[in-house]
Amino acid sequence: MRARLISLLALCLATAFPVCAEQVILGLSKNEVAITASFDGSEILIFGAVRREEPIPEGPPLEVVITVAGPSLPVTVRRKERRFGIWVNTDAVDVDQAPSYYAVASSGPLGEVLTNIDDLRYSISVPRAIRSVGAPMNIEDSGAFTDALIRIREDVDLYQMLEEKVVVDQQTLFRTSIQLPASLTEGGYVTRIFLTRDGNVISQYQTTIDVRKVGLERWLFMLSRNQPLLYGLMSIFIAVAAGWGASAGFTLLRR
């Protein structure tokens, strides 16, 4: 039974990657991002090489597509409409899973280095990385809501399309740099590297960059979630102490 499963798996892999002779060896400038109090964004260098047992195959050149995805969360996208003369949120569409951060870097225009079929299969481009089951019956233009989600997050660099930003040397070495903005959510940032030829994915590699609050930031965040009562009391204590200190200080200054 187990042997059959393994051979089945091998068959699947063989169909998924017809030419499995080229594999990724990856390097990252850092595999951890620490969010400290003075965190102001971070740049990550992603570089690597292609290992192969045989000479470089003939035909279309090797292309590289790299994606970095922050933790996915369900979000609600709302649209304003004018009601009784003022602008009010009316229609809403729930998106089941939208990455809090998503960057796609490729060695050429994404449409040329990746076929639509493989984009769909591996959920690579930004619209494909967002999962939405469907809008309520009364909303006909649900596409406008996902477009808005992408547009708003692109404006604050949470979603990035980095076409032609991956440099490939001799079909063997590749590198790119990805900018993480200052307003990041904690979690595992899944980094995927796809090697493509003629638009078809021939090999992929996956790793995780850990983005974590550290030090005081981590302590405060955990306290606010795990001990909310204590956290609230602490906030009030600080406020009262500061208020008392200010009053005492002013009195001293006036004398």
């Binding site: 969010i35 109090a37 709302r78 708003i152 979630r225 909310p228 956290y231 602490m234 406020a239 208020g243």
Partner: protein
């Protein structure tokens, strides 16, 4: 000036000097006019990109500090009516609990922004206009003596459950102060304000309290209502950002010192006209945002687990 600081709860990175400056600016105004300044702070925090839920909850925390600082000075001068403060407080706590429940409900249906803005426009508009008219006429006849206005026998005196409030020199029903406390408590929780700018006129014009005990008594009960609101937001929404609160506090404390000195050199009527203008400008800006077509019609919110 690259002194960015990452706020652990708001999960945004902002310039620390901007927050100190903001706290300082509101502190100056609060020192000049004797108001908590929450009604200015919350919209300003929206404006610099703090998520509304965090702005409202953190303002409540910051108000605890500024009103505690203020009430100590009033205790020294014995201008706090503790009995009246306690009655207002009972109403206020019930109101705050109801207000946080309303806030969470509105947040779940995506209307919290609208409700907060509507509350601001309505209350700032009404109070700003009334204050402007009143202070202008006071300024015109400031030479011709004080207005006699106290101890009118109205509805307040016909209600049951009368109680004696010695410091205020009043013998009235407890129902009106309970109701005033309740309304201010609801607003405090929804708007992230202490409610001083509503409480003070209500105490003078509805309850008929003497002006000299009004501010101290109002501050006394605001500490508890704002503290209670902070606790409710901290335990139900996890939206109190203590780093943000501390930065605003430090600026606020310094600003209040400067503001008090400016205020001492100005006439009371001039101050009231300026405060009224300020209130009307904030109100006008918020009203325009509701009336004009926004540049982005869509907004994103985290879906709350039911």
């Amino acid at each position: 000036m690259g002194m960015q600081i990452y706020l652990p709860i708001a999960e945004v990175s902002v310039n620390a000097f901007l927050l100190l400056g903001l706290g300082g600016l509101v502190g100056i105004l609060s020192g000049m006019f004797g108001v908590g300044g929450g009604f200015l702070m919350t919209p300003l925090l929206f404006f610099i990109g703090i998520p509304p839920a965090v702005a409202v909850a953190t303002s409540a925390n910051q108000i605890v500090a500024s009103s505690f600082s203020g009430v100590l000075a009033h205790f020294r001068r014995r201008t706090v009516d503790l009995r009246m403060g306690t009655v207002l407080l009972i109403g206020g706590l019930i109101g705050a609990a109801a207000g946080v429940a309303v806030f969470n409900y509105l947040r779940s249906i995506g209307q919290v922004d609208l409700m907060v803005r509507l509350c601001y426009v309505l209350f700032l508009g009404v109070i700003g206009t009334l204050m402007f008219v009143e202070s202008l006429s006071a300024l015109r006849k400031s030479s011709s003596g004080r207005r006699p206005q106290r101890k009118k026998h109205g509805l307040v005196h016909k209600m049951p459950f009368k109680m004696r409030f010695r410091v205020s020199g009043l013998y009235i029903s407890v129902i009106p102060p309970l109701l005033v406390g309740l309304v201010v408590g609801v607003l405090a929780a929804i708007m992230g304000v202490g409610g001083g700018f509503i409480m003070v006129p209500a105490m003078i014009y509805i309850l008929g309290m003497p002006t000299k005990v009004v501010i101290g008594t109002s501050l006394f009960q605001i500490i508890f209502v704002a503290g209670f609101t902070t606790m409710l937001h901290a335990t139900t929404n996890y939206t109190v950002d203590v780093v943000l609160a501390v930065l605003l506090l430090v600026g606020g404390v310094i600003g209040a010192q400067i503001g008090t000195n400016i205020g001492l050199r100005m006439k009371a009527e001039q101050l009231r006209v300026l405060l009224a203008l300020l209130v009307m400008v904030v109100c006008g800006k918020l009203a325009l945002e509701l009336l004009l077509m926004p540049s982005e019609l869509y907004s994103i919110a985290a879906t709350r687990a039911e």
